[in-house]
């Protein structure tokens, strides 16, 4: 059952992947269409030509790069399907599904030490340099130059809020209520961040709340920009200057100055670190839950859930309600099995969990990059085992004009994140 049996989710177009027709829904991501088609394998890895497929489903990892209509290295999870879209797998000969260069992985069980490869003779080295160059790189150069972007002129807002998950929505709510003109930017095509997963955890705001806040932001003269990624917080001209890349309706760059910047960048899904954790079919739980809720994607029949706590349980329940068998894995995973996609997990004790999908519901790593560019401090959080932005109760980062809230500052429930966002909004409101 590739899709939930709901007419809303019925395919209405087709894309071509390596010449093969794949049914899809116009507007959903290429990665979602491939998961629904039971084909998580989308690429081969850079060095060992290992099978790769979408992992984060949120534009952060680099595992789903494909060639789309002649443009190389495009993220399948950020590319909307439309009828006739031409998708080609990359870095594989002849195709990702049957890649002869997959032999590289098999003949290098301990990896390939590129620093010392063929350094024993000048001739051998020259040959190795030539050979390795011919194998390097992902996609081929594009078929044509892109259309020029429209000129980017500076725009001013009272506040820039990065991320429209619970924290960003909370901050935007307070700022808009105070009459501030807010630009709320969100990478995804939809509002809500993790609220899109439909977990309905205790105290979690409903998704409808996000749309109410979007209305309020617009009423206050602000703007909600979806499919819009903050590329960085530069300082050209001596004050923070954000560049935002808007993907739709056609690509454009926006330059945004705002005296108040609230970073609610959330977390980046982290792949597990056991053996073969890079196999296709091992997916970010939140990405998968959103694809299920929004596109009806059911990626397989048997799911194993990694992680603990309410979110892992909620994800397992969501997948069960979609008709999959779905269990939270108890115990440490030693390795994943499978060739073109995951077929099971071997636990440290030796027992086997039979599955065709692994959904990762561990706490994501706080997305600290923008904060670090701006000079905010981050620290390694031993409990999370990742870095987190150091922010006060009111979201203050120590950098004038910069606040941070939500999962970017550490593990927070959606309810906690929304509250932290509101507090940061109050501090930024002035």
């Amino acid at each position: 059952m590739p899709r939930l049996p709901d007419p809303r989710f019925a395919p209405d177009c087709a894309i071509a992947v390596d010449g093969k027709r794949i049914a899809a829904r116009a507007g959903e991501s290429v990665a979602a269409a491939m998961l629904a088609a039971g084909r998580p394998l989308l690429a081969r890895s850079a060095k060992y030509h290992r099978p790769r497929g979408p992992f984060c489903l949120a534009g952060s990892c680099g595992s789903c790069l494909v060639r789309v209509d002649g443009e190389p290295n495009v993220r399948a999870c950020r590319t909307a399907c439309r009828d006739g879209l031409r998708v080609e797998t990359q870095n594989a000969f002849p195709s990702a599904a049957h890649d002869l260069l997959g032999v590289v992985d098999r003949v290098t069980p301990r990896g390939l030490d590129h620093h010392h490869l063929a350094t024993w003779s000048r001739l051998a080295n020259r040959i190795a340099v030539r050979l390795s160059r011919s194998l390097a790189g992902l996609g081929r150069l594009g078929d044509r130059a892109p259309s020029p972007y429209p000129p980017a002129a500076e725009e001013r807002f009272d506040a820039l809020v990065v991320g429209a998950g619970p924290a960003g929505l909370g901050a935007a709510q307070v700022l808009a209520a105070a009459g501030r003109r807010v630009l709320l930017v969100e990478e995804a095509a939809r509002l809500g961040g993790r609220l899109r997963c439909g977990y309905a955890l205790p105290d979690e705001p409903a998704l409808g709340w996000a749309y109410e806040i979007a209305q309020a932001v617009r009423r206050a003269g602000g703007e909600v920009a979806l499919s819009s990624s903050a590329l960085g917080l530069w300082r050209d001209g001596g004050r923070p200057l954000a560049a935002v890349h808007a993907d739709v309706p056609s690509p454009r760059l926006r330059l945004v100055r705002a005296d108040r910047i609230v970073l609610c960048t959330g977390g980046t899904p982290q792949p597990p670190d056991f053996e073969n954790a890079d196999l296709p079919g091992i997916l970010s739980g939140r990405g998968l839950a959103a694809a299920l809720a929004e596109d009806g994607v059911v990626p397989g029949e048997r799911a194993a859930i990694l992680g603990t706590g309410l979110e892992a349980e909620a994800l397992a329940a969501r997948l069960r309600s979609a008709g999959m068998t779905s269990e939270v894995v108890a115990g440490e995973v030693a390795r994943a099995r499978g060739r073109a996609r995951v077929s099971g997990l071997v636990l440290a004790g030796g027992s086997l969990v039979d599955c065709d999908t692994v959904a990762v519901a561990t706490v994501p790593a706080p997305a600290c990059e923008l904060a670090r560019e701006a000079g905010a401090r981050v620290a390694f959080d031993p409990a999370l085992a990742t870095f987190a932005i150091q922010a006060g109760e009111d979201g203050s980062t120590g950098v004038p004009g910069l606040w941070a809230a939500g999962e970017a500052t550490g593990a927070r429930s959606a309810a906690q994140a929304a509250l932290a966002g509101r507090r940061a909004g109050e501090a930024a409101r002035g």
Partner: protein, 492 residues
């Protein structure tokens, strides 16, 4: 096969991280450079924490596990996006990342500091390390190299990796040609790959004035038996079909020039000089000098004092600051130059291309990335290493004009390094201020490609084996005497 992949973009395994740590690459920046983790399409979003965790588990300190420098952009978008900006509306700025306020935990030095050494080389870039190696080969093994940061933290780890013999003075041609020879045998001689590839250098002349410069160099090049030839726009497009042939009048191409991957040069020189008895100490900043009369007697560092016979100042852009610690004034003017790298593509570009006048240059790295930079005439002097939108705007527009299809290439990362500029674009060599305070700086934007050859000559000179003319001509005293012959074939 079973592998624990920690960085899925670059296929870096957990075992590689462990091997790097065991080999002495203990801090996260060094592990990044040695393994390549975090340098692919996701730029570390999915692997930074995992590697930090592993470094801590292996016994690294919080300072060693600190995240690598944040480099924009956060998402890989095409150059065309940045070409949409008007750089004139973006005034010059120090750039990002902004250093956080307050003290930062620093990694530990990689070993104890000796109480004395015959030769102390300040600066663990390619100049200092190549010199340490060449001295050790000549029997001078009581050498200590002091590096303030990790290896490759300065310009040696930040440059575009071009090596060319196409220069405008006999001295530079001679030095560069020697470096090209060393590059060709470095991997086999030093046991580490530097991915030297002779794809040639293609200079493009957009105006008649630049054509005259190329023509003037040609006779000199032929005198030195370089295979440089002038090419028409049509011929240039046979070498690089993606060029817009209407944007330049002529070009000069030498097929024997090439590109390298800079980082392993430092590892190779460091490892081989240490194997012969030299010491290389990272995360050990020099804080001052003890002087007496005409000599420096000891070097002071944050971790203690080292007595010495000879001090070599090989600090690149920081040479002026370090010389000032001894009260010696150098005329060097460190100047930031910005650079970027795009997503990796299959091989499509063989030579390094440089456009005279604009300073645009670009090449394709061994891994398939486009590596390119461009100088900015408004850049003030000063040691800065922040990244700006202004650079992205300027580079993207020039790049798209030069080779329109490259507007579709996605930018993965931008950074900056410092050129160590002198008034005549030639180096500062020989003693300055004190009879045992030797200078090895001022190589502008081409120090990396000169270092292997200069280090040989410097080691010969220091050990009395030879006295190359560069040690007569390029003394700091020449500036006071007005005996300067400018090198004008600087790019970037």
């Amino acid at each position: 096969m079973g592998k624990r992949i920690v960085c899925a973009c670059e296929d870096v395994t957990l075992e590689e991280v462990r091997r790097a740590f065991a080999a002495g690459h203990r801090d996260l920046e060094s592990v990044k450079r040695y393994t390549g983790f975090g340098t692919g399409p996701c730029q570390g979003k999915s692997c930074l924490s995992a590697v930090a965790r592993e470094i801590l588990r292996l016994g690294g300190t919080p300072g060693e596990a600190a995240p690598f420098t944040a480099r924009p952009p956060l998402h890989a978008v095409p150059l065309a996006a940045f070409a949409a900006m008007d750089s004139a509306a973006l005034p010059m700025d120090a750039g990002v990342p902004v250093p956080p306020a307050g003290p930062q935990a620093r990694p530990r030095p990689n070993g104890p500091l000796p109480a004395r050494a015959d030769v102390v080389i300040v600066g663990g870039g390619i100049m200092g390390l190549a010199l340490a190696y060449e001295l050790s080969v000549r029997g001078v093994t009581d050498v200590l190299v002091l590096e303030r940061d990790y290896l490759n933290a300065g310009a040696s780890g930040r440059n575009g990796g071009g090596v060319r013999a196409q220069w405008s003075t006999p001295t530079m041609i001679r030095l560069a040609r020697r470096t090209l020879e060393i590059c060709a045998r470095f991997a086999a001689d030093m046991g580490v790959n530097v991915w030297f590839r002779r794809g040639g250098y293609l200079f493009l002349a957009p105006t008649r004035r630049e054509v005259v410069r190329l023509e003037a160099n040609l006779a000199l090049h032929h005198r030195f038996r370089l295979r440089t030839r002038l090419v028409t726009p049509g011929e240039a497009r046979e070498i690089v079909p993606e060029l817009d042939g209407t944007r330049f009048l002529a070009g000069a191409f030498n097929p024997d020039d090439g590109v390298v991957f800079p980082w392993p040069f430092l590892w190779g020189y460091a490892a081989r000089s240490e194997a012969r008895g030299a010491k290389v100490r990272t995360f050990t900043a020099v804080t001052g000098f003890e002087t007496s009369g005409t000599r420096i007697g000891a070097v002071l560092t944050e971790h203690g004092r080292v007595e010495c016979e000879t001090v070599v100042n090989a600090c690149g852009a920081w040479s002026k600051e370090v010389a000032a610690l001894a009260g010696v004034a150098l005329p060097n003017r460190p100047t930031r130059h910005e650079i970027l790298v795009t997503e990796p593509l299959k091989p499509w570009l063989d030579p390094l291309v440089s456009v005279l006048g604009t300073g645009l240059y670009f090449s394709q790295s061994q891994r398939g990335e486009l590596v390119g930079g461009m100088g900015d005439p408004e850049e003030p002097a000063g040691v800065e290493s922040g990244s700006t939108l202004r650079f992205l705007a300027r580079f993207a527009r020039e790049m798209a004009a030069c080779a329109p299809i490259t507007a579709g290439l996605r930018v993965l990362r931008q950074w900056a390094g410092c050129y160590d500029v002198t008034p005549d674009n030639n180096p500062v060599l020989g003693a300055a201020g004190f009879e045992n305070f030797l200078q090895m700086s001022g190589f502008v934007g081409h120090g990396f490609m000169m270092a292997p050859a200069v280090a040989e000559l410097m080691a010969d000179w220091m050990t009395g084996r030879g006295r190359d003319e560069i040690f007569e001509r390029f003394t700091v005293a020449r500036f006071a005497r007005g005996e300067t012959v400018p090198e004008d074939f600087i790019i970037g």
